[in-house]
């Protein structure tokens, strides 16, 4: 990659697909074709592999790969930009797409169009990108290309003649695909004489090198040793290293318009870099900010508390470590009467929350109590102020506010036709608003509903899967806030309000939710030596009550002079088990009871 290629020989593109439709495999084939990797390197899915990302002691997950290919006798530079695979909301893919002029829309010829296919394609088309449909896995015996092509025309209004068939597994059709990228994806525009302007489309934290920033060059030239400025973060940095991923990181002296590469400076925290920010020069004429980027907002919040109160600082440092690599994770200290000191954490969505928790437990080894996830609410106060709360505990007294607004998402559900009845019922039960129904084919239908996000985080996805025998997929647009008739449901354990168990829910279902939460708690909280009263209240009025019967007998039957040490150790062990619980008043509550509010048991 010694000689710079002119702009018209450069193409920047992504592959967008539903999960498991073959994105990583296709990326491997494209790299092999370009000679970016040795075919004999037998590891599959190179873009995802951590082993290959080690070079000079740094580990970087490639966010892009620069491919040099010869198309009809001319060398072209194709920058393949990676998009995140597992996302809660389709807009999380946006940051990667902004660095591209075109996208390969990869569809599994057997499975056909799925909810994320539609969402990602719509996202790309909304940005006026060139979308090239690609039918993958055409060699599978149960592939049904005709039906999928029909769906393509019908749902996405993409012409079936524009579609390319391939098998990412065998490499069949890959050459044709590369030609289509060169022919159909527009070359980037830009001017090296303009002031430096580059899009930060991704960033990763590396233990040894600090933050590695992924850039898409728009105007101007960036050189090693330059002083640069981030317009949004208002921060200055010196360029210590520039380079491209091939897919191994390969340093270079400069990056020019249209090129995609990485930058290393002395940036310590991922939080110092805003994805979507614009990079320009520190001195001299600065470029204006690139348009269109929105910071994703955390839409799911929960409390995370250490089981041992002495672990509070350890949990903080574990969260800080995770945040180095995940700038969308937010957290702030909070305290709960029941749980002591912990953190209120915000996640992009449920999937993000699960990933973070899994990493937290695995990497830190801490015992953590998680409270039930909640969505953020906007509270319109008397007097017109609007503020956002992230936990039910923050909800002011009802006489202090005018209305509560909750996040609502337009949700696309792609399901088999025979599941229409079940899914329509599920959505309406979850306070949904029906928008439309479109038949993709005689067997597949897409339902579009507006659903309160709070209803989706209560096992909606599981219900969708069971209602469609596993064939249903869903995708959510960006949430927006709408007023709703919501109330705070308080839970009292042994007469003490358990702040960590209270929830905000719709007035109409509050009583039913209250009852089901109490029934769940009744099962999860062990019997004590006294009766434990469980109550649910709304606005000071008790709407449901249950009790946990007292443990009537708990005494060692046989204990004589010779057994003392053994019996004492048994008591010590039993006491240790109780210590792993949290107490509300004098009631010991096990960790999983704090998720009881998630139960719907309809």
């Amino acid at each position: 990659m010694s000689k710079k290629l002119p702009l018209h020989r450069i193409r920047n593109f992504s592959i967008i697909a539903h999960i498991d439709h073959g994105k990583s495999t296709l990326a491997d084939r494209l790299m092999e074709h370009a000679g970016a990797v040795d075919k004999n390197r037998s590891r599959d899915q190179l873009l995802d592999s951590m082993d290959l990302e080690r070079e000079r002691g740094i580990t970087i997950k490639a966010a892009s790969v620069a491919l040099e290919v010869d198309v009809r006798g001319e060398m072209h530079l194709l920058n393949l930009i990676d998009t995140p695979g597992h996302v809660d909301f389709s807009y999380e893919v946006e940051k990667s797409l902004q660095a591209c002029e075109g996208a390969l829309l990869l569809i599994d010829a057997a499975q056909g169009i799925q909810a994320q296919t539609v969402a990602n394609a719509t996202l790309a088309m909304d940005q006026d990108m060139e979308v090239i449909p690609v039918l993958n896995k055409i060699d599978l015996p149960h592939a049904r290309p005709e039906e999928v092509l029909e769906q393509l025309e019908h749902v996405l209004l993409l012409e079936s003649e524009s579609c390319i068939s391939c098998s990412a597994k065998t490499g069949k059709g890959v050459e044709e695909l590369i030609e289509a990228v060169v022919d159909r994806v527009p070359a980037p525009t830009g001017d090296q004489d303009n002031p430096l302007r580059a899009l930060i489309f991704d960033a990763k934290y590396d233990e040894y090198r600090g933050v590695i920033v992924n850039l898409r060059m728009v105007d101007g030239v960036i050189r090693k040793g330059d002083m640069v400025h981030m317009l949004g973060a208002k921060a200055d940095y010196e360029v210590l290293e520039l380079g491209k991923f091939t897919p191994d990181p390969k340093p270079c002296d400069s990056l020019e318009p249209g090129e995609v590469g990485y930058l290393i400076s002395n940036i310590k925290k991922l939080g110092d870099v805003h994805i979507g920010d614009t990079l320009t020069v520190q001195k001299g004429e600065r470029a204006s900010r690139l348009p269109g980027y929105r910071e994703p907002q955390p839409m799911v919040w929960c409390g995370l508390y250490p089981v041992r109160s002495g672990d509070f600082e350890n949990l903080r440092s574990a969260l800080n470590t995770l945040k180095l690599n995940d700038s969308s994770l937010v957290f702030e200290p909070e305290s709960s009467d029941a749980l002591g000191f912990g953190f209120r954490c915000g996640f992009l969505g449920l999937l993000h929350m699960e990933i973070v928790q899994e990493r937290l437990e695995r990497e830190s080894g801490l015992d953590i109590v998680q409270t039930a996830p909640t969505v953020p609410y906007e509270i319109l106060m008397q007097g017109g102020n609007l503020h956002t709360i992230h936990s039910p505990g923050e909800l002011p007294e009802s006489n202090l506010y005018e209305e509560i607004r909750e996040p609502v998402v337009t949700t696309h559900l792609l399901i088999p036709v025979e599941a229409i009845g079940a899914i329509m019922h599920l959505c309406s039960e979850r306070r949904g608003r029906f928008l439309r129904q479109e038949h993709l084919s005689p067997t597949r239908v897409m339902l579009t509903w507006d659903l309160p996000l709070s209803e989706i985080i209560f096992d909606f996805y599981d219900k969708l899967k069971s209602g469609t025998r596993g064939y249903g997929t869903m995708n959510m647009d960006e949430p927006r806030f709408e007023a709703a008739d919501l109330v705070k449901l308080r839970i009292l354990v042994g007469g003490n309000e358990a702040d960590a168990l209270s929830i905000i829910c719709h007035k109409e279902v509050a009583e039913r939710r209250g009852r089901s939460v109490l029934r769940k708690l009744q099962k999860e909280i062990p019997r004590h030596q006294f009766e434990v009263a469980l109550q649910a209240s709304i606005g000071g009025k008790i709407v449901a009550r249950e009790s946990i019967r007292a443990l009537s007998k708990n005494v060692t039957a046989k204990c004589y002079g010779g057994d003392i040490t053994r019996k004492r150790k048994l008591l010590e062990q039993q006491k240790k088990g109780k210590k792993r619980m949290k107490s509300i008043g004098n009631v010991e509550v096990p960790q999983k009871a704090f998720l009881a509010v998630l139960s719907t048991d309809e």
Partner: protein, 396 residues
């Protein structure tokens, strides 16, 4: 205050003696004691080793109580039993010093000859492991006897002259009808015992029964039912004139087991035999559990000791409470805990005692003997809960 036995009968300075005979005919499914299935090991050599340990460690002990337990002591042939008792008496002088000399026996191995040897050896109290009179329950426990063997064993004991007789029984067998337990209890009472030990079935760690429960093939009885059986036991025994003086122990007036009382009062104890534990002067002592290893150690010139440890004063004080609170009416004399361990349990960090008193689980009475701590009627069946809260924070 009503004591199970007048305070003057057992002296705080005098030791009790426990001798352990580790072998059984078969292993009961609930048992977590140091018991080993007898596979023909030389019982004569075992008796030699027991006498050797007594001679080595405590010649001239003159214990105030003596208890030969197991295992199954009645497994010893009559002549070996007699040799053991006479040998011990020669070394320790227990016949003259002991207020009570007991032996445990199992129904299948307690015949007239064994009973007569026991009496000839100086024993005056017999404790028979009946457990149940219901064949299916006995079978489920893997007990090697039937109900009729219990009656025969009682007859042998009476015939040999035992006037102080105890029967061990177990209640709350999973799925058992409460009336079946009452029938068991009444049948035991008809045999006219001076003493009854009625244990709730306990799922001890590591036993076959516990493994069965943990595998989901057996369910423990609900605590409400256990309490009901516990209460019914008290009522039925009271009607028969037997008072409860400890969680699981009932006796005719003045017939409480002195040896076990000494244990609950934390009086000094000497343990002889494999796995036997002892206590005195602030030191716990435990012998090697494996009979063969214990015997080899003694025969090789050792003293059979596995470990001795000195618990800290907090732990010692807790052990006083753990044992003494089992005595329903007697409780624990707080001044004695203070004298023995230096710890004032009314002065523990966080004052758990005051909380438990306030919650009505424990009570403190003032009497001629000083302040006495005991469980309330409500707190008595929940004693483990109170004890967990009294446990010292650090490890002892």
């Amino acid at each position: 205050m009503e004591l199970a036995t007048p305070p003057g009968v057992l002296l705080e300075s005098l030791p009790s003696l426990y001798v352990h005979l580790p072998f059984c005919k078969s292993r009961c499914r609930y048992c977590d004691f140091n018991a080993w299935v007898w596979k023909g090991q030389d019982l004569g050599r075992l008796v030699d080793a027991l006498l050797q340990e007594a001679e080595l460690r405590v010649p001239g002990l003159r214990p105030q109580t003596f208890f030969l337990g197991g295992g199954t002591p009645s497994l010893l042939p009559p002549e070996e039993l007699l040799r053991l008792l006479q040998g011990l008496d020669a070394i320790l002088d227990f016949r003259d010093s002991s207020l009570e000399s007991s032996m445990e026996a199992n129904p299948e191995s307690f015949d007239e000859a064994t009973a007569e040897a026991a009496v000839a050896g100086g024993l005056n109290r017999i404790s028979i492991g009946a457990q149940s009179f219901r064949p299916p329950v006995l079978a489920a426990y893997d007990r090697p006897h039937g109900p009729e063997d219990i009656e025969k064993a009682v007859a042998s004991a009476r015939g040999a002259g035992f006037e102080n007789l105890n029967l061990d029984l177990i209640f709350a067998f999973p799925g058992q009808d409460p009336l079946e337990w009452e029938a068991d209890l009444n049948r035991a009472l008809r045999l006219g015992p001076q003493h009854l030990s009625c244990y709730e079935l306990t799922f001890e760690p590591g036993t076959p029964l516990t493994r069965k429960r943990d595998a989901g093939r057996m369910e423990e009885e609900d605590s409400d039912l256990c309490l009901h059986l516990f209460d019914r036991t008290l009522e039925i025994c009271s009607e028969a004139g037997l008072d409860r003086y400890e969680i699981s122990n009932f006796s005719l007036p003045g017939m409480a087991c002195l040896h076990n009382l000494a244990g609950w009062r934390r009086l000094p104890l000497v343990g002889i035999g494999p796995g036997a534990c002892g206590w005195g002067d602030g030191v716990h002592r435990k012998n090697i559990s494996d009979p063969a290893a214990w015997q080899a150690d003694l025969e090789g010139g050792g003293d059979g000791l596995e470990e001795s440890s000195t618990p800290n004063s907090q732990t010692s004080a807790f052990e006083h409470l753990m044992m003494g609170l089992r005595l329903e009416k007697e409780g624990v004399r707080l001044s004695r805990v203070k004298e023995s361990t230096g710890v004032n349990v009314e002065d523990l960090p966080g004052d758990p005692l005051a909380l438990l008193v306030a919650e009505g689980l424990l009570e403190i009475l003032s009497g001629p003997e000083g302040r006495v701590l005991r469980a309330t009627p409500a707190g008595f069946p929940l004693l483990d809960h109170s004890l967990q809260r009294l446990l010292p924070e650090g490890r002892g």
